[in-house]
Amino acid sequence: MAIVESEAPASAGDLKIIKDATCTFCGCVCDDIDLTVENNHITKALRACVLGKAWFLNHEIEDKPSCLVEGKPAALAEGYDRAAQILSAGKYPIVYGLSDSPCEAQRVAVSIADWIDGTIDTTTSVCHGPSGMAFQGVGEVTCTLGEVANRGDFIMFWGSNPAESHPRHFTKYSLMPKGMFLPNGRKDRTCAIVDVRKTKSARAADIFLQIKPRKDFEALWTLRALARDIELDPKLVQQETGIELAVWQDLMDRMKAAKFGVIFFGMGLTMTRGKHANSEALLALTRDMNAHTRFVAKPNRGHGNVTGADNVVAWRTGYPFGVNHNRGYPRFNPGEYTTSDTLANGEADSGMMIACDPMANFSQPAREHLASIPYIALDAKETPTTRAATVAFTVATYGINTGGTVYRMDDVPIPLRPAFESPHPSDFEVLTQIEKRIKVIRGVRG
């Protein structure tokens, strides 16, 4: 197990610099942050973006008990016992969240779901789940972010607004870096952005195409047709996409002329009309482009370790999210075993919510059902989900108080360097304690 702090975190009263710390706020997982820690408080976060600074500098240890049972402070051991009982007693227990936990904790969560014949799902099901499904249909041509920095001369963003969601994306990976084959950095690259609204990112683009809302699929298929020199009706194209055919043709000409093209896509594509069909169209377009030049695609993942969650769940069960163990072996069915569905359909009878907040962002039927069943919540902060939980654990924050491993959006695993200790246990510790008890209850010896 790789939770090792290679340098001791600062304790109260110290002033300490943690070099090459990793920011887990978004999927960029920048690992070049130098943190200054004074009196258990981060006072500087060198190189962090506006979101990263907020993540590090505003980090306060919650002044509340590590464990609440039915809203009342309780000893951790009592919370572990109760949590194990709830999860073991359920006929349809669900485990959800995981995208803001290190892989080490995710692995324990999958074990728990296995031992209780439960369902395991991650926040992927509400962000890039459709991309995961599209991937199962057509595959993906992709690369690590360093390849984009060193080779990408045509960079496209589709339904993604990194200026606000991934602020260092442009400077660190995609637009500004002077790479091995792009000695002049930004000047050597063309940037095209396709979106339904003029986002902050649009300012960074050489070409901005504002397409009609809910028409991503049609727009992508227009490009697929042009990639294969198929003749299209200009009127129809304009009518369906809101963009003139000549503009699309110009874009395709530039794409074909690129040496190494990259398409980053976001939830503006995956969570609008068409969902996985949109992602599939984009992945297929990328594949098509490889008949002309090198082209890759990459989802801009949001949460710090949502990519780790996909990986851990996949290596242990064979499927990336939405996995049900009710029959004693893993089955995958998004739309059935995904948490918004197991809750909204009133199927789950107990649950564990790990570093996620369904009570704040799920549909009303899902929230109402979650409020009606016993569940456990783990979070570093108080949230609507922790407030309504039968057992709530306040946990240390990964990357700030605890170590472990996080996978960047391009599947590169990166270690965490914690800055200072928390009085609260890590989610790894809480999950391990719960697992221990569940194994006893369920007679597991493995």
């Binding site: 057509v138 992709t142 690590t144 090198r294 996949a314 064979g318 004693g328 893993p330 996978y407």
Partner: protein
């Protein structure tokens, strides 16, 4: 590991490393190791195992498979249709649940290998940038001791050092990379070709002397200089080579040139079946076996070892660090395709594939694999592999053993194949049948020797007590698909197909010494081009479960 003392008595032992060929013997185990028989025969024993009329061999060693890391996991994510229809792996009181298909989940991989009597396996292609990922999966892959080979045939620093004619720098880099990733051996995959694929549409190199654009080096230079570095470092395993032009008609000449480029240095040519083709211009009508000229070279050059990469008929997943090959195969088969380029280091291609006995190409591939096993004179230099899952699953090993030990079965299956196979290969004329001793060599003793694992692949005192006990059966597939007993580090882990224990197993890695002064140059290069920080690159030892640093050759 357990401290239990176990006695296995009256077994018919096949331990070729110690010259034992089917002799009835007793074995003693203590502290997870094989020990000498105690001088006092009445010494208390925790368990005695009656192996009368049973065949006893060391635990199996798979020296070339794809079982962990980014590529394997992508394939799992990509093939839910296979996972769902594959065998169900239900959880039990001691084991996790999982999925099968051609790319099993981690726990299922460990259980199934153990179920076949295999206790050690090496993943053949890990990009060092993703080494952490491989180690994390290893910790979830029980029952096996594991290690991996580190992709470096398209590494920019390797090519730069070759170009600059700086062998000392190259040697230091190879050692640094093995240490940083906690890997086991240097792996070359289509050396130079993957880099060309990264920057050119359908790019590749096409022979040993093609120039790699931008870097100005040839595959021949990369192969010979990395082989030299591996030799000077005294690594336990040699350089492990996936040749250029995999799968292409006429590629046998590239393979022969690759062997020659070693110039007498040790080298392991992997999944050589995929590199033994005659014919040309992608024309199926000219496709034929060129095992004979290649095997002649191998037979007369003891510096070369091979594993086969046997093709079996059925559905599987092709996965490779050879990016341009993935592109080629996806165009041939038209299925879904994954390609992943890793900065500075490597590529990757994945696509589903179905091998059919009525296809001339597929049936020839099957026959060519068998020719390799049957034509290499010295069994110590040919190793059983399917290049799991590329040629087929590791689950097919018992079937391959039957092909090798049962000429009639082999010929019967050959008759079901495309009729031209008998004309385009020599398989129909080969009479040879393997003995149990030879099976023990190509599945255990040989790979241990080739990998430099002194404590594996044999049953002499000091060896790890990894032992498989089989009930003899006329049908060798039945005999080898369900061992009577599998012992791992002195603990019975499988008994009549039932899991008894599922220990995680060791991580096997190497720690070659090198001149640390070269690190300054490596760091400067690294910081200029990588997207992660220098200090966050090396894998912390805490990622390795029960690490064992395998010593350098003396």
């Amino acid at each position: 590991m357990t401290s239990d003392r176990i006695k296995i008595y009256h077994g018919t032992v096949y331990d070729p490393s110690n010259g034992i060929d089917g002799e009835v013997r007793d074995l003693w185990i203590e502290g997870g190791k094989i020990v000498e028989a105690p001088s006092d025969p009445s010494v208390p024993v925790n368990r005695t195992i009656d192996a009368s009329d049973m065949v006893v061999m060391p635990g199996g060693i798979d020296m070339h498979c794809h079982i962990a890391g980014p590529k394997v996991n992508v394939a799992r994510k990509m093939r839910p249709e296979e996972n769902r229809k594959g065998e169900r792996i239900e959880r039990t009181a001691i084991t996790h649940s999982g999925t099968m298909g051609s790319v099993p989940s981690t726990f299922a991989t460990g259980y199934k290998y153990a179920g076949l009597g295999y206790t050690t396996a090496f993943d053949a292609a890990i990009p060092p940038l993703a080494a952490r990922h491989a180690h994390e999966e290893f910790e979830d892959t029980p029952c096996l001791d594991k290690g991996f080979y580190v992709l470096m045939g398209n590494n920019h620093y390797v090519m730069k050092s070759v170009k600059d004619n700086e062998p000392q720098k190259l040697k230091a880099f190879v050692a640094w990379l093995l240490n940083s990733s906690k890997g086991f051996a240097p792996k070359l995959v289509n050396p130079g070709g993957v880099e060309v694929w990264k920057h050119k549409q359908a790019g590749n190199v096409h022979g040993l002397d093609s120039l790699v654009d931008h870097f100005g080096v040839t595959p021949r230079q990369i192969i010979s200089q990395v082989a030299q570095a591996a030799e000077e470092l005294r690594l336990p395993h040699s350089v492990h080579i996936h040749c250029n032009n995999l799968g292409m008609p006429g590629n046998w000449e590239t393979t022969l040139e690759t062997m020659k480029s070693l110039e007498g240095r040790r080298g392991h040519i992997t999944h050589i079946q995929f590199h033994s083709y005659g014919g040309g211009d992608g024309d199926e009508n000219t496709f034929n076996s060129k095992v004979i000229p290649l095997v002649d070279y191998v037979n007369s050059h003891p510096n070369i070892t091979v594993d086969v990469g046997q093709v079996l008929f059925g559905e599987t997943t092709s996965m490779t660090g050879d990016g341009p090959l993935g592109y080629y195969l996806s165009n041939v088969y038209g299925g879904k395709w994954f390609s992943g380029d890793t900065e500075m280091e490597s590529g990757c291609g994945i696509t589903p594939i179905k091998y059919k006995n009525k296809s001339l190409v597929h049936a020839l591939q099957w026959a060519i694999g068998l020719e390799w096993y049957l034509l290499v004179e010295d069994p110590w230099r040919v190793v059983m592999s399917t290049d799991h899952p590329n040629g087929g699953s590791f689950m097919a090993y018992p079937q391959i053993i039957r092909y090798l030990m049962d000429r009639t079965y082999r010929q019967d299956v050959l008759k079901t194949c495309h009729p031209l196979v008998v004309k385009r290969s020599t398989l129909a004329d080969i009479e040879r049948e393997y003995t149990l001793r030879e099976i023990a060599i190509i599945t255990r003793a040989g790979p241990a020797k080739i990998l430099g694992l002194k404590n594996k692949g044999h049953l002499g005192p000091g060896a790890d007590a990894d032992i498989t006990i089989y009930s003899p059966h006329e049908n060798k597939e039945i005999m080898f698909e369900m061992p009577r007993l599998v012992i791992k580090a002195g603990q019975v882990i499988v008994e009549d197909g039932e899991m008894r224990h599922a220990p995680i197993g060791k991580t096997l890695h190497v720690q070659p010494a090198y001149d640390v002064e070269f690190e300054t140059d490596i760091q400067a290069w690294f910081e200029k081009y990588y997207s992660i920080r220098w200090r966050n690159y090396p894998v912390d030892p805490s990622y390795m479960h029960a690490p064992e640093a395998v010593p350098m050759r003396s």
